[in-house]
């Protein structure tokens, strides 16, 4: 079987109607794009606002959590739960006057002893002493 060089690269005629089809394509390409849904913007704003309001109502602030933390670390809870007390600072007043507090050493770790001494030295009996 033989094949001529001319046959290999014979020029073919394109299908008719090419220019008309291209013209139609150019015109559809030049047409403005279809209108976008105008209502999408306002709807999106309303949805975002609703989610924000819901979130603020669900979590108004963080104070309750802070209060819970404070309560859980209170000395009363330590005693209730049988935990070792943290070395809280002791402040004592006798009426309006402050009382000097100094902790004494003990051999029992569960016992804490304090020496109280009025700063202005009027009375020897403390009005209150709370750990």
């Amino acid at each position: 079987m033989k094949i001529d060089r001319e046959a290999i690269f014979a020029e073919l005629e394109p299908p008719p109607g090419g220019p008309a089809r291209l013209r139609a394509k150019l015109r559809s390409a030049g047409a403005p794009p279809p209108a976008r849904a105008w209502w999408l913007g306002p709807v999106a704003v309303v949805v975002i606002a609703a989610v924000a309001i819901f979130a603020f109502r669900l979590f108004p602030d963080s104070e309750p959590a802070a209060e819970t933390d404070s309560l859980m670390t209170a000395a009363a809870f330590d005693r209730l739960l049988g935990r070792d007390s943290a070395p809280y600072a002791i402040s004592v007043r006798r009426g309006p006057d402050p009382v000097a507090v100094s902790e004494l050493e003990t051999r029992d770790p569960n016992v804490r002893l304090f020496h109280l001494e009025p700063v202005s030295g009027a009375d020897d009996t403390p009005e209150s002493a709370a750990p």
């Binding site: 079987m1 033989k2 094949i3 001529d4 060089r5 046959a7 290999i8 690269f9 020029e11 073919l12 005629e13 394109p14 299908p15 090419g18 220019p19 089809r21 291209l22 013209r23 394509k25 150019l26 015109r27 390409a29």
Partner: protein, 169 residues
């Protein structure tokens, strides 16, 4: 080319449709799809016409057509829709030997590496000069010459393996 109008664009299409169609056809072997590729190339260039320099338009449209045709072939392979019916159908009015030769030619051309085939089709089919092909493919004229030589040699070898003898006359 910002001032180019539709009528001028269609006139350019008419002057370049045939050679571009013939190039695309040697990739796709389908008349309707080849014409569609040429039109797609013109459509894409139309969208960026304000950035196209008139001197580079011809190279750009050839490059775009080649790329689009090549992409379609890859897509076909990807979807396993390769069909050899087109060439035989188009050659249906020829004799039996011609039909066989056309099928063999198509398979042989398809087997030639794409960069070589591009040069072969542009030089032998469209009749572009080495300089024009170099501009289209962004390679040197020397590379165009060597690729053309290798493409013809490879095509002859492949045809011979299929029992088809290349007749130079």
């Amino acid at each position: 080319m910002a001032d180019i109008d539709e009528a001028q664009w269609i006139a350019w299409y008419q002057s370049l449709e045939k050679p571009l169609y013939n190039v695309a056809y040697r990739w796709l072997w389908d008349a309707a799809e080849s014409q569609d590729v040429v039109q797609e190339a013109f459509l894409r260039c139309w969208r960026i016409r304000d950035r196209i320099e008139p001197d580079t338009f011809k190279a750009l449209i050839y490059r775009t057509t080649l790329r689009l045709a090549s992409n379609r072939v890859r897509r076909r392979k990807l979807w396993r829709f390769v069909s050899f019916a087109g060439s035989d159908r188009d050659a249906g009015e020829q004799g039996d030997d011609d039909v066989l030769a056309a099928g063999a030619l198509r398979r042989a051309l398809a087997g030639v590496a794409e960069p070589l085939r591009q040069v072969l089709v542009l030089s032998e089919l469209v009749g572009l000069s080495y300089k024009e092909i170099a501009e289209i493919m962004r390679i040197t004229e020397g590379t165009v010459g060597s690729r053309r030589h290798r493409a013809i040699a490879e095509l002859k070898t492949r045809l011979r393996a299929m029992g088809v003898r290349w007749n130079e006359n």
